[in-house]
Subunit: 284 residues, 4 copies
């Protein structure tokens, strides 16, 4: 054959699981349920080469088995947060299969919140999706990354962009007042796997949002940097944070042809093309 | 030609507009902005046949003009809610073009809420999308429909489904305890165009959610019916309401092969296939 | 209660089924398989009111049973085309349940075509999706509608738009040369349920495409009308046809600021906002 | 500040451009147009730190300028294939901005093909999307990767999966006859930037498809490996190839409860969860 197997990885994606916690308290008239829903991606690396090169499946843990494992771990463990569940699943694979050298579990949560004061009714109204990724390499400590997707935020003023590069294809004018809108994604890496993930998540999100509101933004880049630093300040267990802040443009509508003045009031909202800005800030 | 033009309709879809309200108060140190974002569909009917049959465009209001009109109306009117903006756009078309016999404006809102206490920062974290449709037929009063999409709600108990039809292809067993999860869409029709749309929206949504929590559900059909009745009770200006409540199944994970008992704890979450249930309740 | 049940409808959506036909010919060395994949929506109307108003499920055919029925019919019938399968499923429901007054079956096909000359390998490379809708009202003949979605077509010239309405918000200039691009959807209604659906589908699609190429388009409206007439001409069993032809704009890129002349060469492609044009042509 | 800027990258995504080639041949009655449509992602790295750390934008090439550059390069170069256009855009950025250290251009094509024999009508009916990524690091030769997304292929037999790992959570039985369906993505890396990209693309795709049909598949892993090797065999300029072959399960419908035998005829088609299999084969 012309080539060799340089890298291989397999597993099951989009294993969607929900779990109801039903504390049966003798004294209570009604059970107070908890409800959590996750989508889980399982990826395994290890000594699986013979399946590729020789059609020898003996080492293969079927992707169907990977799926069952997620449901089994969901049964045997409480699901407190995406991070802890990802850890539990990853550890289960590493303990069960000695020939697995690396396991990566990625989890995305649909957040269900109690509806009114009902003991068993819930609503999922948040577009923001908490995420977690746990990677275990055999012989190393687990690496835990937490994050989120789809945090839509905007500044309607206190945002400008000026004094940037001129050149052949520049047509954008300097501005000291524009809308800055972004759909933020974040991933922060923990220095250890013993952090209080739920509390830290609140601290990180709160720090990001607070910093977003508190300054004149000279660019998405500057605002991203300030937000990331605030997250590191807020949470000592976080080793680094990556923010992706696409610039979801609100472009001033040109109404001059109709005799209307548009003083930063009415905007055309666009999804594409969009400015793409991403950076990683690491603790010194 | 073999056929005649039985029906035609055209316009512009997905005209996305945002507006910043900037009250300039002499005494205030900072402006307290408001921020609203809508996606607007414009559809016109009327005396446009010659464009189809003869390539004669003289009566055609270009779809580009439809788009500009949305931005122009956004400039000239305040945007208090999707319903009132849809009304303003529809009325503009009816007043501007005598040969338009019917105008339908559909609006979907991305809800921006104030972020922390910032005067000019906002977040859009709700997956729920308020909607409005205004139809004006020349010579008739405007018909206003309000609604929403993407309201995810669930009951983790107090929901069953039993005593339904047997027959050739039934395999589902009766159950007195299951998860009921739905992504609800609603559309309610106003008896007049003078209602207080924002207040009524709150009343309708509140009534739907409260009723969702307060009963043992014998079927999605029964729960839908009770919720719709509650909305009519809550809001005298609502003439009828249509609810669509797809059953987003959480299926009990079968762990018996692994020696694990699953007492309504762990579920497989699926998007398709899904139960589809829809009904309209009209005020007597 | 404030209201009465004006309309109700339920069923199962997105029931996805594939079927392999395996002709076992004694003389052949290899089976020559056929492979078809459909997504099916089942909707039932009838005497189901008690489920809504009284929580009485005895008349309800569970949506799970609806799903099973699709698989059962797939087993018991050959699947020659979306139209015939939708008919078979609809007829099964009408025959099995006397209290169902109306059944609507909507089918969408993913088209698998033989790959190379393999007897059992297939590829699904077409974005175009054939569709069919069959409605049976008790006591009436079945109504069969065939159609498709996602037919992307474009003219890079021989398309203009001029002499349209002026007015307050017009800014678009007349043009005699523009790109016309559309993602066409079509639905044609058969005058009877005995038509040769596969052959007719070929005739309709061929007529639509041929007419699209053969004229200077003075508007999307004119081209839509000509295409629809051609479909009626091509297929005597078609009673009416509805075409939806959103105008997926390719806007001339303005390169004048960079000293570049753009003679209808380079375009900005946009998905939204888009012109929406739809019409129904009925046989006289 | 707690952290330092470890990595940063920005640019413009989803810059969608179409180009018409209009050869004006004196002798021809009609121009024979060519039509190509691409979506382009621009990402720049380099000396931009001051924008993040000091709000100093002087080095920033605005993402709006990145967009304009794509249109400008589209005007000044012919667009023969995604690979060559990505190269041209990347080279333009490297030549124009000395402080850019690395440029990554990713291109995805919507394939327009001539419609009938029309000189200026086209259809885009392929779901398969050709892709290309060009990375230039200052001081190094361009790295060109070509690929595609959304190649749906299936084997209706000659596919099994057996003798795989048993263990705690295995429930899947061995099978010697199942459907194997996958939505293949591929990325192949060229050893040099002078390859004949269009010809090589045909060779790679043809080799992948041919190998897919020619063997009994003992696993997705084995089939992936054979296909990748075939691509390396077919094209000497390809240094390595990565294939992603998610297993889009067609699960045998269980009709036994209804007294129906299902001999690998009728299947439930699912999108999630799905088996995820990916590997890279590198030329020795």
């Amino acid at each position: 054959m012309a080539g060799y197997l340089k890298h291989q990885c397999y597993g099951k994606h989009n294993v969607r699981v929900s779990k109801v916690r039903r504390p049966r308290q003798a004294a209570s008239k009604e059970e107070q349920h908890e409800f959590v829903e996750l989508s889980v991606n399982v990826e395994l690396e290890g000594d699986f080469d013979a399946a590729y090169t020789d059609g020898d499946n003996r080492s293969i843990v079927a992707t169907d088995t990977c799926k069952n494992t997620v449901y089994g771990v969901a049964k045997n463990h409480s699901i407190d947060c995406p991070e802890s569940f990802a850890l539990a699943v990853a550890q289960h694979f590493m303990e069960s299969y000695a020939h697995v050298s690396r396991c990566r579990i990625a989890v995305s949560e649909r957040v269900w919140k109690r509806l009114l004061d009902s003991p068993h009714c819930f609503s999922a109204l948040d577009s923001l999706k908490p995420t977690a990724v746990v990677i275990i390499e055999r012989g190393s400590a687990p690496q835990v990354t937490a994050g989120f997707e789809q945090l839509m935020i905007a500044k309607t003023t206190e945002s400008g962009f000026s004094d940037f590069q001129s050149g052949e294809f520049r047509s954008l004018a300097d501005t000291e007042d524009r809308i800055l809108a972004s759909e933020v994604s974040a991933d922060w890496v923990y220095s250890n796997a013993k952090a209080d993930f739920s509390k830290d998540r609140q601290s990180v999100v709160s720090a990001l949002l607070t910093r977003f509101t508190d300054h004149f933004s000279r660019s998405v880049q500057e605002t991203l940097y300030l937000m990331a630093q605030a997250a590191l300040d807020a949470c000592a267990d976080v080793q680094s944070i990556t923010l992706s802040m696409p610039n979801k443009h609100h472009l001033l509508a040109d109404l001059s042809a109709f005799g209307l003045e548009n003083e930063n009031e009415v905007f055309c909202v666009t999804d594409e093309p969009f400015g793409y800005i991403e950076a990683t800030i690491e603790r010194e």
